[in-house]
Symmetry: C2
Subunit: 340 residues, 2 copies
DNA sequence: CTGAAAGCGCTTACAG
DNA sequence: CTGAAAGCGCTTACAG
């Protein structure tokens, strides 16, 4: 079908090897004259190297996996800020002449299958629980450069890129305390399995302690991330905990639901209750009132993920610690002083 | 590194061919006894076929490209409903033992490069302009099964899956007219290049005509899709076209911006002006007031895309016409009778 | 600076 | 039902 190295070699009157060297930019090995001649023929004939042949013959595939959990029969769901990070990583990797394979992982063994069957050079693990990262064995991974995003796993096999979740919570809760709040609730999904949530919780706790506010476990609620779940929680807060004047939430979607639930129960935001979200999703500025939230450095996450992977592929040593991206507070309209 | 067909063959005391036949499920060619024995060894040794070798030796790669325009230096941006469709397609394809390669396309030639270098069996084109699909040549495509989503290109090389954009506009505008509106504006991105927008515009026009409402070109505005753009347009409408009582918009994000712009200019939605969006994105039900909009059949789009591609790969004839998915109106809070 | 040989792990097409 | 041969398009490692 396509033009091959052999065709080019025949037309140029040289060996396969020489064409290969030219195509792969091994400048030193070919004279300028033949190099130029071969390049011209490559252009003319529209030669496109076969990636499968390269992957098979060489020791690299220039292929990076994007592995995402796919529970059972469900289709992949990727939250908006992850989509953004993926888009940015794709550009970086494309620029470096790598390709991206998107793969849902339903059973754990599928990680190994994906890595091995396509001979992946690297893989980014998006949205896995820490415990799943923990369980990865060297035998299953081989030499693949693995980056686990937003993971707090201790598994040395995976490089880690994440936001300063602890610090983000500190920012949010300090802001609320500075506004005068003392009874501040925490709402997020269960954090037995997710370090991200646990860190945000610990940040919340620390700032309370720093400010001499007694920690009240009743103010900590496990709420799955979702608008409906948030709405229900907002109504619950209004009914059961009217003393609460502020809520720190681990996701914008949840926060938006909470705002709506509070409003539906007749409480105004931020007049009666302040709410702070997390992620600074686009949606945060479309809702009414606009959401005060913690913003992550998405471009930084994408760039660091690619950088770590390339360093690893280049044989550099594993960094001593996880790469942590800075966060910042975005003040909008859902946080204000508590009612007098 | 890994276990190969050869290893399995040696251990089972048979030839490569026999193992290959077993692994590929060619039942008829191997006796039940040897088949079972080989399967056991395959399991034990954790054999995983090399996809690159298969792709190189066979006539199929079981690899499908997901091609997305990537303008210049920009990173990929994929709108939320496309992300959802991608997630659903991934599951379908995974179930059929296909893999997905995500690739941004900055220059047109990159389409061919992607198809050829990875020997793709098929590709889904997401978000390309009709004119770009038009320009695709058979020589560049080869035998690859191509599905262009939301395209109105006439290029017979691409199979097409799209929503009933004309019908969606009809639903929206009929709804507004039934509520009593007569001065209905249209807002969407320029439609010289995008059939989707043109169809929605034609649907709008047709329903106006059906109802004896004179078409007023001044009521048609070109507005790029974006919240800020919508907001500016909303303010413009309030200032310059106070006679308009309803706006039909080709995207939810735009509609939400328009609602905000109108509100910022002191006009209430839907009290003074009704607004209808398009897509039924999640966000449509999070904003205040909740957006009335046209919903697409996302699961249908994903399923039909995969089905068309598989039919094509199985050698079936190209369908006579594009596959069109049904749409439906979702009534929420932004459309009401015009002020008395 | 250039090239001949071997091999990556499979499938295809054929012979028995 | 089973297998020996050829080949997919490249790279590696080496020799000249």
């Amino acid at each position: 079908m396509g033009v091959t190295l052999k065709d080019i070699a025949a037309e140029a009157g040289v060996s396969l090897m020489t064409v290969s060297n030219v195509v792969n930019g091994k400048q030193s090995r070919v004279s300028a004259a033949t190099r130029e001649r071969i390049m011209r023929i490559v252009k003319e004939r529209g030669y496109i190297p076969s990636a499968s042949a390269r992957s098979l013959a060489g020791r690299t595939s220039r292929l990076v996996g994007l592995l995402v959990p796919a529970a059972g029969e469900a289709s992949l769901t990727i939250d908006p800020h992850t989509v953004e990070v993926v888009g940015m990583m794709e550009r970086e990797l494309r620029r470096l002449d790598y390709h991206l394979m998107l793969r849902g992982i339903a059973r754990r063994e599928e990680i190994t299958e994906a890595l091995r069957s396509w001979n992946l050079d690297g893989a980014v693990l998006l949205g896995f629980q820490d415990s799943e990262i923990d369980r990865l064995k060297a035998a299953a991974i081989g030499g693949v450069a693995l980056v686990a995003m937003d993971s707090y796993s201790a598994n040395p096999l995976a490089l880690e890129v994440r936001s300063d979740d602890f610090g983000g919570a500190e920012l949010a809760v300090r802001h609320l305390i500075a506004l005068g709040h003392r009874r501040i609730a925490f709402a997020g999904p269960g954090f037995s399995a997710t370090g991200v949530v646990r860190e945000r919780f610990e940040g919340y706790r620390k700032v309370l302690a720093e400010n001499g506010i007694a920690f009240d476990p009743d103010l900590v609620s496990t709420v799955d991330i979702g608008h409906a779940e948030g709405e229900a929680h907002g109504r619950w807060l209004a009914a059961e905990r009217p003393d609460v004047t502020a809520v720190f939430t681990t996701a914008d979607l949840l926060a938006i639901g909470v705002v709506e639930g509070l409003a539906n129960a007749g409480r105004s935001v931020p007049g009666d209750v302040s709410v702070v979200g997390y992620d600074n999703a686009d949606i945060a500025s479309y809702v009414t009132p606009k959401l005060t939230t913690v913003a992550q450095d998405l471009p930084g996450k994408a760039a660091e993920t690619v950088r770590l992977m390339m360093d690893r592929l280049a044989g550099k040593a594993r960094p001593e610690q996880a790469t942590t991206l800075q966060v910042r507070l975005v003040e909008r309209e859902t946080a204000a002083p508590p009612p007098a």
